[in-house]
């Protein structure tokens, strides 16, 4: 009998199979739907709540804030919870034995698992972003027609209506909104890689989740706090500075990916700067996956 297999040192097809398998696994998990439902609820409530304010442009801001909040929460929680159990579950269930007994390099396994989880995040973010853009556009157009009708009917305060129309025009779907969403995605991907790394040496899933959340929280807050200290005191002293450096060394800087607040305020990020952030995020992913691999390659199953 002839062996049917062809072996290659690195096979994107194998990584793809593992990624698709992970995608199936997460999609068939109930938690995933819960999170999606959660974001739908937020979007819908954004639509309902907007009648609350006076300023038409503020209505669009509410929708953006709510949706980005949902996306951030989904991305953060999903990146941690889904990746934290990816490998430990395979180890515990001994599914890993059968997978690695096939000609699958351990790096491909890690990469496939990681990409599968990220695929879920990226796909659901894309869906949410699309939803947001469509709803935002429809709402914007509705408000614009409303205001334009006022203007055409010769309503008083034409000059103020013109300002509102300008504001509305500037607040629709835009590329900077997409960069903000992409930054949320990127942050989730970095967080996923960090979590995957932690999970390769963690003794339990709970430990991984707790450590990952801590890394995320500190990595998020630390740059702001350090920035404030540096700005408010003349000198920090060498000991404090050394401490800051150690913290910076250990904790990923998640502030780099925080564009949402400023983008919602109407600021635009130059594309070149966005690509720098993208490069930074991808470097994090590569390095943490590599670190995860070093530990995982050596793991006794």
């Amino acid at each position: 009998m002839h062996n049917l297999a062809v072996y290659r040192h690195f096979s994107p097809a194998r990584v793809g199979v593992l990624a698709r398998n992970t995608l199936t696994q997460l999609v068939r998990m109930r938690a995933f739907y819960f999170l999606l439902i959660f974001s739908v609820i937020v979007l819908v409530s954004a639509l309902l709540i907007q009648n609350f304010t006076f300023d038409p442009a503020r209505q669009l801001k509410i929708m953006k804030d709510m949706s980005f909040f949902a996306m951030s929460m989904f991305g953060t929680i999903f990146a941690i919870v889904a990746t934290a159990n990816l490998i430990p579950k395979d180890v515990e269930d001994r599914t890993l034995y059968t997978i690695l007994a096939k000609p699958v390099p351990r790096f491909e396994y890690l990469l496939g698992k990681y990409l599968g989880a990220m695929l879920v995040i990226v796909l659901s973010m894309a869906v949410m972003m699309l939803m947001l853009c469509v709803v935002l556009y429809l709402r914007q157009q509705a408000l614009l027609t409303e205001q334009q009708a006022l203007l055409d009917a010769g309503a008083p305060h034409a000059e103020e209506i013109a300002v509102v129309i300008d504001e509305l025009k500037a607040d629709g779907p835009s590329t900077s909104l997409i960069t903000a969403a992409a930054a949320i995605c990127l942050q989730a991907m970095v967080l996923g890689a960090v979590t995957l790394f932690v999970s390769t040496f963690a003794s339990s899933g709970l430990f991984t989740v707790v450590v990952a959340f801590m890394l995320f929280f500190v990595g998020y807050i630390e740059p702001v706090v350090v920035d404030y200290w540096r700005g408010s005191m003349e000198s920090l002293g060498s000991f404090a500075n050394a401490c800051i450096h150690v913290v910076e060394l250990i904790f990923p800087n998640f502030q780099s990916f925080n564009l949402v607040d400023d983008v919602v305020s109407g600021k635009t990020l130059p594309l070149s700067l966005f690509f720098k952030i993208l490069g930074m995020g991808l470097s994090y992913v590569v390095v943490y996956l590599l670190a995860a691999y070093f530990i995982f390659a050596d793991k006794e199953l």
């Binding site: 060394l249 305020s265 600021k267």
Partner: protein, 311 residues
């Protein structure tokens, strides 16, 4: 620790050493594009601490939280709970000072809505009799002004905030500061192309600013000419009365020769006076310009002393 773990640690530390300077530069780049501006330019220490506390506690959801607290504030507003409206808006503006609309709404909530409420202008009950109300209204106006000033520190050239400040200076402040208002409107002009509204208000206030009468007259005439040409976003039948009145007043004041005056017949002014006079109550009026306009109209139309408004 196994060898693999040491290697992993070494990789992460090496990456840290490489990335930290890059991240510092990235942070600087972001700041250069007005991203991540979390410190207040020249705010008080207390405010800075509040800002930091908020930033630290809230991380990336400042915009979202600002929205939530504004909805909260609006709920309080619907119940006329202005004490809460104020504290909520303080929080909202501290959470997202970069959103100029929050400062403007906050100021409007206080110097207009809260003031009207305390003066009992929206309620049937005569609250003015209850002495303290006037004081509360005055405080609300001051709070509104504080929001405007703080907001303008973040957004020195903001169109809406400068207009709000201009209006505040003449409508809420006693005595009215026409010169200051003219200056505020002048700043708003710069923020927008073809900013007819602030241009007009700038000229109108300048007319009442001592020493600037001639300058104001030139500006008002330019507007009037545009209006007559039909090259103005306001239809002719909605022409603000004050525009013509101020021009008339300045022509008198500057003793402009009859032939050089802007041609408006007295009939138009008479109809204008008839339109404005009945709705005017000196007891509740807060718009100094409005009173000014009527006083000038009475002068120009030579209304007999007994029929004039008693201020």
């Amino acid at each position: 620790m196994t060898k693999a773990r040491w290697i992993a640690c070494a990789v992460l530390v090496a990456f840290g050493v490489i990335r930290i300077p890059i991240e510092d530069r990235l942070a600087a780049d972001l700041k250069a594009h007005q991203f991540h501006e979390m410190t207040i330019p020249d705010g008080s220490m207390r405010e800075q601490l509040g800002q930091l506390g908020a930033a630290a506690a809230l991380g990336g959801f400042r915009s979202f939280l600002a929205t939530m607290f504004e909805l909260n504030a609006i709920a309080a507003y619907r119940e006329s709970d202005y004490a809460n409206v104020e504290t909520r808006y303080q929080l909202v503006t501290q959470l997202q000072p970069s959103e100029s609309g929050y400062w403007e709404t906050a100021a409007w909530m206080m110097d207009s809505n809260a003031r009207r409420f305390y003066l009992g202008m929206d309620n049937e009950v005569d609250v003015k009799a209850q002495g303290k109300r006037g004081l509360l209204a005055q405080r609300a106006v001051e709070r509104g002004r504080r929001f405007l000033d703080d907001g303008l520190r973040y957004h020195p050239g903001d169109y809406k905030l400068q207009i709000a400040l201009g209006n505040h200076l003449v409508e809420r402040q006693r005595p009215a500061d026409f010169c200051g208002a003219a200056e505020a409107f002048a700043k708003a002009i710069e923020a927008r192309d073809d900013a007819t509204l602030p241009t007009r208000h700038h000229a109108l206030n300048l007319a009442l600013c001592p020493g600037h009468e001639r300058e104001a007259y030139v500006k008002l005439r330019a507007i009037a000419e545009r209006l007559v040409r039909g090259d103005y976003p306001i239809p002719l039948d909605q022409i603000p009365a004050s525009l013509i009145l101020h021009m008339r007043y300045l022509e008198e004041y500057l003793k402009i020769a009859e032939d050089d005056r802007f041609p408006i017949n007295l009939d138009v002014l008479r109809r204008l006076y008839a339109r404005l006079r009945p709705g005017f109550d000196p007891a509740t009026n807060t718009d100094e310009r409005h009173a000014h306009v009527l006083r000038r109209l009475e002068d120009v139309l030579a209304i007999p002393e007994g029929d004039r408004i008693r201020f």
